[in-house]
C-alpha cells in the first residue's frame, strides 16, 4: 500500500490527491491481485465515501392498500451494503461511508451532482429518471466519476445514450424481455397477446418484448392497448374478456410498468391463459421468493435492518456498493482509478446470491446477471433457461450482446 495514503487525514483531500496520482500514472490493464494475505496489524484506516443521489418519484399511482410501500427502495440496500463492506473493512482497514442526497420532486439533480463532485465524491449511485441520468453522465464534472444506475431499465441508456462513466446494476428492459421469451420458448408458448398500457414506459417495455419475440422463435398474434378509462377500471370483469377475445394466443404479456391494470387481467381473460410481463409472471433481478444460493441470508439480513422485503432496486444498490467494496479489498486500495479498472476487468467476479459470478459488460456497462422469473409466491424459473447457449457467457443471452450493442463508447 502507498504509505502516502495514511498520512492524509481528510477524506476530501484524500480523494482529490488520489485522483491526481491516478491521472499521473496512466492506468495499464490491471491484473487483479488475488489472494495475498491482509495483515490485521495494518496502519491507520482509510475511508471511502460513496454517494446515493435520488429524487422522489413523480406521478406514482396509488398502490393497493394491502401492498407495502417502500419509499426508501434502493437506499436501504445501499445502507446494508455499507454495513457489509465495513464488516469486511474491519479486516482490511478500509472504511466506507454513505452520503444520502434525496431530492424532492422539484429538486435539481444537476446542481446536487455538481455539489457532490465539489465535495470530492466520485462513486455516485443514481436513483433517477432516464433523462436525468443521461444529463448527469454528460456533465464535465462527471468525467472522472463513476455513476451507478440502480433503478432505470431504459435500453437507450445502455445503447445510443450510454456513457463511459455509467454502470448499470439494474437489469435492462431487454434483459427482462429475453428472460421471459426464453421461458415461453421452453414452455412452447409461442403465440403472444401483447397488452400495452398508455405510458411511454409501457411503450418501451412493449418494444423490448417485440425485440425478444423473433430472437426466440415466438410470434405476437395480437397486440392491443389498454386505455384504463373509467369503464375499464370499474368493471374489469366484463371489459377484460372482451379485450382478450379474438386471435389465438398461449400467453398474455402485459406492459404496465406503473401497475395500473396488469393485475386485473389474470383469471379474467376470455380463454384461460397465463399472464406474464410486468404483472403475473415477472422477470426481476430480485424477489422475496429467492432463497437458493445463500440468498436467504441476504433476505434475512435485509429484513432485520429494514423491516420489509428487499426490492430489486435495493438489490441493485447493494450490488453497486458491494462491487466497490470487493474491488477495494482485492486491489487493497481506495484509489478511484484502481477500483474502476478492477470493476471493468475481465477477472471481476461479484457474488450476488444467484449461483454464478456477476460482472460488467465492457460494451455497455451493464451488470450481467441471471433474471428471476417469479410469480407472486413462487420462484418459477431462473434465466438463462437451460439450453440457451452462448459462446462466451450464457448470461449474455439476456439483453444486448456485444455484436448488437448500439453503445459506441469504449470503457
Amino acid at each position: 500500500m502507498n504509505p502516502l495514503i495514511y498520512k492524509l487525514a481528510s477524506p476530501l483531500v484524500l480523494v482529490l490527491t488520489l485522483g491526481n496520482l491516478a491521472q499521473a500514472a496512466a492506468p495499464k490493464k490491471a491484473v487483479p491481485p488475488h489472494n495475498e494475505p491482509t495483515k490485521s496489524v495494518a496502519p491507520a484506516t482509510e475511508k471511502l465515501t460513496i454517494a446515493y443521489l435520488a429524487q422522489q418519484r413523480e406521478n406514482l399511482l396509488p398502490q393497493a392498500y394491502f401492498l407495502p410501500t417502500a419509499a426508501d427502495a434502493g437506499l436501504q440496500g445501499a445502507r446494508l451494503a455499507i454495513t457489509d463492506d465495513n464488516t469486511t473493512g474491519a479486516f482490511t482497514r478500509q472504511q466506507f461511508e454513505l452520503k444520502e442526497v434525496l431530492l424532492g420532486a422539484d429538486g435539481d439533480p444537476g446542481a446536487a451532482f455538481k455539489q457532490l463532485r465539489a465535495d470530492g465524491y466520485r462513486h455516485i449511485l443514481v436513483d433517477l429518471p432516464t433523462d436525468s441520468v443521461t444529463a448527469l453522465s454528460a456533465l464535465p464534472e462527471a468525467a472522472d466519476a463513476l455513476l451507478y444506475n440502480v433503478s432505470d431499465s431504459a435500453d437507450d441508456l445502455r445503447g445510443p445514450r450510454c456513457a463511459a462513466n455509467l454502470l448499470h446494476l439494474i437489469p435492462s428492459r431487454a434483459m427482462r424481455a429475453d428472460a421471459l421469451a426464453q421461458y415461453f420458448a421452453k414452455k412452447r408458448w409461442k403465440m403472444l397477446f401483447l397488452a400495452i398500457g398508455t405510458t411511454s414506459k409501457d411503450t418501451l417495455y412493449a418494444a423490448a418484448i417485440k425485440r425478444a419475440v423473433p430472437r426466440f422463435g415466438l410470434k405476437i398474434t395480437e397486440e392491443k392497448s389498454w386505455n384504463h378509462r373509467f369503464d375499464e377500471r370499474r368493471t374489469p370483469e366484463s371489459e377484460v374478456p372482451v379485450f382478450s377475445q379474438g386471435e389465438e394466443y398461449d400467453v398474455m404479456v402485459v406492459a404496465d410498468e406503473d401497475g395500473a391494470f396488469g393485475d386485473l387481467l389474470s383469471y379474467r381473460t376470455w380463454s384461460p391463459r397465463p399472464v406474464a410481463g410486468t404483472q403475473g409472471l415477472v422477470a426481476t433481478a430480485w424477489h422475496p421468493t429467492l432463497e437458493q444460493w445463500g440468498a436467504i441470508q441476504l433476505q434475512n439480513r435485509f429484513r432485520e435492518q429494514s423491516k420489509r422485503w428487499m426490492t430489486e432496486i435495493d438489490y441493485a444498490a447493494w450490488l453497486a456498493i458491494r462491487a466497490i467494496g470487493e474491488a477495494a479489498s482485492r486491489t487493497k486500495s481506495l484509489d478511484f482509478s484502481k477500483i474502476k479498472e478492477y470493476l471493468l476487468n475481465d477477472g471481476f467476479a461479484l457474488a450476488g446470491f444467484k449461483g454464478v459470478p456477476l460482472s460488467f459488460r465492457r460494451w455497455d456497462g451493464q451488470l450481467r446477471q441471471p433474471m428471476l422469473l417469479a410469480g407472486e409466491r413462487s420462484l418459477v424459473a431462473v434465466a438463462p433457461i437451460d439450453g440457451f447457449l452462448h459462446p462466451k457467457n450464457e448470461l449474455d443471452t439476456l439483453g444486448y450482446d456485444q455484436p448488437e450493442t448500439q453503445c459506441k463508447t469504449t470503457r
Partner: protein, 323 residues
C-alpha cells in the same frame, strides 16, 4: 484388496461375529426431511432414518464416536445424538442459524459459524456453554481446526476471506483473501496447508499455514460442463496427502487432485449437486452427499470407481462416518 481378508478376520475375532469386517456407519443429514439417515457403509444399505431438529446441515462425530453433533439450523441449536441409541441426548448453545462447525483435536471445544450474525461461537462441550463469540466477516460458513491445535479458521462468504483465529487467545491474527464465496475449509493432516473452496469462482485456494500466503488457486475444467456449473464445496484430503477430493456441486462430479503437485488428475461422475464428502475409516471408500438426486454415492478409492448410489431422503447435506 487382498489385505482386507486378514484384517476382516482379525476384527471378527476382536469384536465378535455380529460386527461385519471393516464395518462403518454413515450418518447423513437430510436438510429437507428434518432427519438423519443411518447407512451401513459396507453394504450401502439404509438402516434407519430418525427425526431430528429443523434443517439439519453440519455434522461431526465426537472424539470417541459415542456422540454425534448435528447443526439443526432452523432450530438454532447443535443437537447431541447418542450413536448407540440414536436418541437426542442434549443440545449445545450455538446461537442463531448454525450451519457448520468444527471440533478441536481433543474433542472438547466446538467452533460454530453463525451465518446471520457474522460471528464464530466457541462452545465448551463439557459445560455446554458458549465461552466466546468472535466477530468475523460477512456470512461465515467454512470452519476448520488444524490438527496441531494451533489454528481455527473461519471463511466468510461475502467478505471472501479466511480468518486465522489463534486457538489459545481466540483472537483473529491474520486474514487471507480467497476467491469469491468461500464455502468449505480444511487443513491437511500435517497442519501445513489450508484448503478453501470457492463456489462462485469455481476454485480451491491452497494456503500455506505458516505464511498465510496462497500457494495455488486450483481450477477445474470438465468437457461438456459449463464453468458456471462448477461450484466446489466439500474437500477431503487423505492423511498422507496423496490425493484430495473436491465435491463440485451442480457439476455432479468429484475432482481428484494430486495433493502434492496440486494438479487435477480425474473427475468422477456422482449424483446431482454433490456437496460434502467423507472417507470410510479405512480410507478405502468415499461417501458423497448429493442434494438434488437425494442420494449418497459410494466411491471405491482403490479401484477409483463409483460403486453405487443409495437413496437416503430429501436433500442430503452433511456426512459423518463412525468406525
Amino acid at each position: 484388496m487382498t489385505r482386507a481378508y486378514p484384517l476382516a478376520f482379525l476384527s471378527l475375532l476382536t469384536y465378535g461375529l455380529s460386527i461385519p469386517a471393516t464395518a462403518d456407519t454413515v450418518y447423513v443429514t437430510l436438510e429437507k426431511d428434518n432427519a438423519l439417515a443411518v447407512m451401513d457403509g459396507t453394504s450401502g444399505k439404509l438402516v434407519k432414518t430418525i427425526k431430528i431438529g429443523k434443517r439439519p446441515r453440519g455434522i461431526a462425530l465426537g472424539k470417541d464416536a459415542k456422540q454425534l453433533y448435528v447443526a439443526a439450523s432452523d432450530s438454532n441449536t447443535i443437537q447431541v445424538i447418542d450413536t448407540a441409541s440414536l436418541k437426542i441426548v442434549g443440545k449445545l448453545p450455538s446461537d442463531e442459524d448454525p450451519e457448520t462447525f468444527a471440533l478441536n483435536p481433543a474433542g472438547s471445544t466446538m467452533y460454530v459459524s453463525n451465518e446471520d450474525d457474522n460471528r464464530v461461537t466457541v462452545i465448551d462441550i463439557a459445560q455446554q456453554k458458549a465461552i466466546k463469540q468472535i466477530p468475523v466477516g460477512v456470512e461465515p460458513e467454512g470452519i476448520a481446526v488444524s490438527l496441531d491445535g494451533r489454528w481455527v479458521v473461519s471463511t466468510s462468504e461475502t467478505t471472501n476471506m479466511a480468518h486465522w483465529i489463534d486457538s489459545r487467545s481466540l483472537e483473529i491474527v491474520d486474514n487471507t483473501l480467497v476467491d469469491p464465496r468461500p464455502r468449505y475449509a480444511t487443513f491437511t493432516a500435517d497442519s501445513q496447508q489450508l484448503w478453501v473452496s470457492s463456489e462462485i469462482a469455481g476454485s480451491v485456494t491452497v494456503i500455506d499455514a505458516n505464511t498465510r500466503q496462497t500457494v495455488k488457486s486450483i481450477t477445474f475444467k470438465i468437457p461438456g460442463v459449463t464453468q458456471e456449473k462448477i461450484q466446489p464445496v466439500g474437500i477431503k484430503i487423505d492423511p498422507q496427502r496423496h490425493y484430495a477430493y473436491v465435491a463440485l456441486g451442480p457439476a455432479n462430479r468429484v475432482a481428484v487432485v494430486d495433493a502434492k503437485s496440486l494438479e487435477v488428475v480425474d473427475y468422477w461422475l456422482v449424483g446431482q449437486r454433490v456437496w460434502n464428502l467423507e472417507f470410510s475409516p479405512d480410507l478405502k471408500r468415499l461417501y458423497t452427499t448429493n442434494g438434488i438426486s437425494n442420494d449418497v454415492s459410494i466411491v471405491d478409492l482403490e479401484n477409483r470407481k463409483v460403486l453405487k448410489s443409495v437413496a437416503v431422503g430429501q436433500n442430503p447435506w452433511g456426512v459423518a462416518v463412525k468406525p
